[in-house]
Amino acid sequence: MEPLASPLLDSLVAAVSWLVIGALALVPAGNAFFARRLAFPLGALIGLGLAGFGLQAIWLPTQQMTLPLGLPDLPFHLRVDPLAGFFLMLLGSVSAGISVYATGYFREEPAGRLALIGLQYHVFLASMAFVILADDAYLFMVAWETMALSSYFLVTTDHKLPAIRSAGFLYLLIAHLGAIAILLCFGVMQGGHGDYTFDTLRSAELDPRWATVAFLLAFFGFGAKAGMIPLHAWLPEAHPAAPSPVSALMSGIMLKTAIYGMVRVIYDLIGGVRWEWGMLVLAIGAGTTLFGVLYALMQHDLKRLLAYHSVENIGIILLGLGMSMVFVGFGHPAAGALGLIAALYHTLNHAVFKGLLFLGAGSILHATGLRNLNDMGGLIHKMPHTAFYFLVGALAISALPPLNGFVSEWLTFQTALQASILENGVVRSLLPLFAATLALAGALTAMCFVKVFGIAFLGRPREPRHAAPDAAGDQDHDAGMMERLGMAWLAAGCFVLGLFPTSFLLMLNRVAVSLTGQGLREGAVQSNWLWLVPIESERATYSPIVFLIVIVCVTLLTFILVRRFYHGRLRYSEGWGCGYSELTARTQDSADAFGQPIRHVFGPLYLMQRHMPAADDPAPRFSLKIEDRHWYWLYLPVARLTEYVSSKIALLQQGRISIYLLYSFVTLIALLVFVR
């Protein structure tokens, strides 16, 4: 029977159209008219289409296709199933908002740079689509590497700055370490057949030891791309280096392709999930979560701070995934499905709100040229729209109801609360501790975003330059129309995902069924658009709509009652300084000051260098430098070892032709001896 719709073919067309747009962006005609005016809006339209096709694919049966492309005897295979459909939806819908924003953001780039950005940007998008569509290891690796390279070029857009070049290099290095591990993982999984289609990998029966090796390779290979510790070091360097829409793409979507890879390989290709794997994922996830948020609290560079929060959120996703693996490993597929749904829900949520926050940071950078929080302040008066969207993103990432971040954390907590069905006493007692980690991280995130929003948007401008518009008069303007539209799209996503969680729950339930063979329990079917019931109605329910209606009603009622029975009289005056007369803008909290309680409580976790000015210093300036300990125990030793080994290997290179001839001769003799 011919299906009515073919999301696979449609998605393929969408991905190829992105490539075409990328190529067309190179056309220099009319001051790069196409790249400036049309490329990004068209890309956004294709993103919307792709989101629709992905949505279809979740509900339709799996489709496969073989392309007459690739190497001889090694054609490309494509496949779309509910999991791929979900990630296509994520890619399409989030990239649509970012592309609209990019239209405004890149408007004033010089033509040459803009053409290159247009090319790389759309190749990047297309390669992510192919990563999700790929159904054999060959196409997967080609798309994976294209993704790494195109994003590398996007990160190094400002390649004239040495700091950005080195950030790009670090990114490329860790991306390739991960790629090697993934390649080896595919090698282990094929188990000697020499056939690399995912169908073969799926049906291969692996010895438990080899399955564990494959799991470890996949976990760390994809983990390097996702930014889990200890392979996160590239993330806080590369995200700030890239232009903001690219940061949003990388943090919002590219990290999620790594989650896609993890789920695809562990649940689908290897299969037979073991609970011990889940414990490892949980341990690393908990470490990543706490590390990310604690280091984020120490940052004063806005984009670096957001990058550390991406590390944290990857940790939260891993916590959900790990719980799911533990439950599946112990033979509780219903609870396992709930954990998987929580993890995937958070994947989507993080893509939406982190994309939004990076775009907000980009608008601030665009308008004021500032990235350092310590120089900002009072931006809400000059950029009210950006402030509103940023506030939505900040509340969402802080997991506050009724926005979307809360729903996925709620589902993760509900998964952890299923711990009592486990037979293993140790694991049962550990799961609530991981939930506690999540609770701590959520509260710390709220603190961090109070800091970001409070310091950047509220208060008074800290640098006098930004207190008043300069001679040109248009400094510190609000974001432009297209930028606002892009942010509004993602902010709407925060509301929709937060207020209508049930439809997404049922969608993800289909993904879980397709992966684990079983979905949520019968009780969950009671879910309707109003009530979210993940397990059964006696156990846990949540209704964001009722929640929102009640809170809005009582707030409005309060407002009306107060106005009705009393009065709305208001007088304006100076702020109250508690009798101190010399409170200037510089006596406000700085970003570093706001993190001081955290430094006090978690001091030993940081590598801190602090300069305290002396009491009689005429121009006192406090400085603080926080470094990542991982550099000293992991990265630098590895780098030194590599240098040492390569210096030894360099001895082979003598630069004299007679020596090289000798090498050839010895090689030839050796081959003659060993090969018959």
């Binding site: 302040g377 009072g378 008066h381 509340l395 802080s398 997991a399 506050l400 109801p401 809360f406 709620w410 609360l417 711990a419 009592s420 049962r428 609530p432 506690a436 609770a439 701590l440 959520g442 509260a443 710390l444 709220a446 975003f449 109070v450 929003f453 409070g454 310091i455 948007f457 509220l458 208060g459 109605s537 006696e538 156990r539 846990a540 329910t541 949540y542 209704s543 929640f547 009640v550 809005v552 009582v554 707030t555 309060t558 407002f559 107060v562 009065h567 208001l570 304006y572 005056s573 100076e574 702020g575 109250w576 300084g577 409170l583 006596t587 406000q588 909290d589 000051a593 309680p597 006090h600």
Partner: protein
């Protein structure tokens, strides 16, 4: 699923809580005055204060943004919602399924985030200082609170307060070790979250030691009244959560309207006892240094975790 008398009762309970909350505060203040050998103010003093504040003209700073003006209403709305979903008199609350205990913690966090943002809005030194300290207390207290609630959730197999209270209310009167740990942890969280001694001092006039008071220095008149009222509702909500979790006996079950008078009397007695206990604690204890607060609250957190572990151990 939802019937009219239940909804009417839900609305009545919410209004009752909002109106009764300042009374609890007045009672606690009265007890404290007695314990400290002072002549006690009227138990109605909080109402007089609110009325006075509502009649004044509000004064706000020139550079106040919308966040500053919205926050008192948001805080009041959040606390009202919280008070509406805690089973105070009966377990039959039609709105309660909209938000379980995790969402309840989320509501308190939402109010806290807004109050901290408003504190930073004017750009004075004390506002930022208060916001930073409040968030410090918040991130320490929130996980501890969740651990306490998780203990109850594990025991009753549900995260809905209605179900938890019904399950716990039906057990025989015996001290459950896991609930004992949780109760101590909850008491510590209650003191910290409501800005009481030993973490914060609600009657302080020293700006440098303030936490909550430093955040609301900029507020006046009706805005201040709403915040003060919200604070009273928060204390009331926390006390009723504690009553619901640890001494639920006497609450009216679903559909049993005849039990309401008894439930009301039981609640009044428990709250009177709790208010007097709070006053006693505040008289006996001294305020801790700010940087001892993490130790205080991490103790609460550990007690909460011990509660969960004890539950698993006791169950085998």
């Amino acid at each position: 699923m939802i019937d009219a008398p239940a909804i009417a009762f839900q609305i009545l309970q919410s209004v009752f809580v909002v109106l009764a909350a300042p009374l609890l505060l007045g009672w606690a203040n009265q007890c404290r005055a007695w314990l400290q050998n002072r002549s006690a103010p009227s138990i109605l003093l909080p109402y007089y204060t609110l009325a006075k504040l509502f009649h004044k003209d509000a004064v706000i700073a020139h550079n106040a943004s919308a966040v500053f003006r919205v926050t008192p209403y948001v805080m009041f709305g959040c606390m009202w919602l919280a008070a509406g979903i805690v089973p105070v008199l009966a377990t039959d609350l039609p709105f309660a399924p909209a938000a379980d205990i995790i969402a309840l913690v989320g509501v308190f966090a939402l109010a806290r985030v807004f109050s901290a943002l408003a504190a930073m809005d004017i750009g004075t030194a004390f506002g930022g200082l208060g916001a930073r300290r409040e968030m410090l207390i918040g991130f320490l207290a929130e996980p501890a609170m969740l651990m306490v609630l998780f203990t109850a959730a594990f025991i009753s197999g549900s995260t809905q307060l209605n179900t938890i209270v019904e399950t716990l209310g039906h057990r025989e009167f015996a001290i459950d070790p896991s609930l004992a740990f949780a109760a101590v942890a909850f008491l510590m969280v209650l003191l910290a979250e409501n800005a009481r001694i030993p973490i914060d001092n609600p009657t302080t006039h020293l700006e440098l030691t303030m936490i909550h008071e430093a955040m609301i220095l900029e507020y006046s008149a009706r805005h201040l009244a709403l915040i003060e009222w919200a604070v009273a509702i928060k204390l009331f909500a926390y006390m009723t959560i504690g009553i619901a979790l640890f001494v639920p006996w006497g609450i009216a079950e679903a559909g049993n309207w005849g039990a309401l008078p008894l439930a009301f009397a039981a609640l009044a007695a428990k709250l009177a006892f709790a208010g007097a206990g709070l006053a006693l604690l505040e008289t006996l204890l001294a305020k801790l240094r700010l940087f001892l607060a993490p130790e205080f609250l991490s103790t609460a957190f550990l007690l909460g975790v011990l509660g969960i572990l004890t539950h698993f151990l006791a169950r085998g």
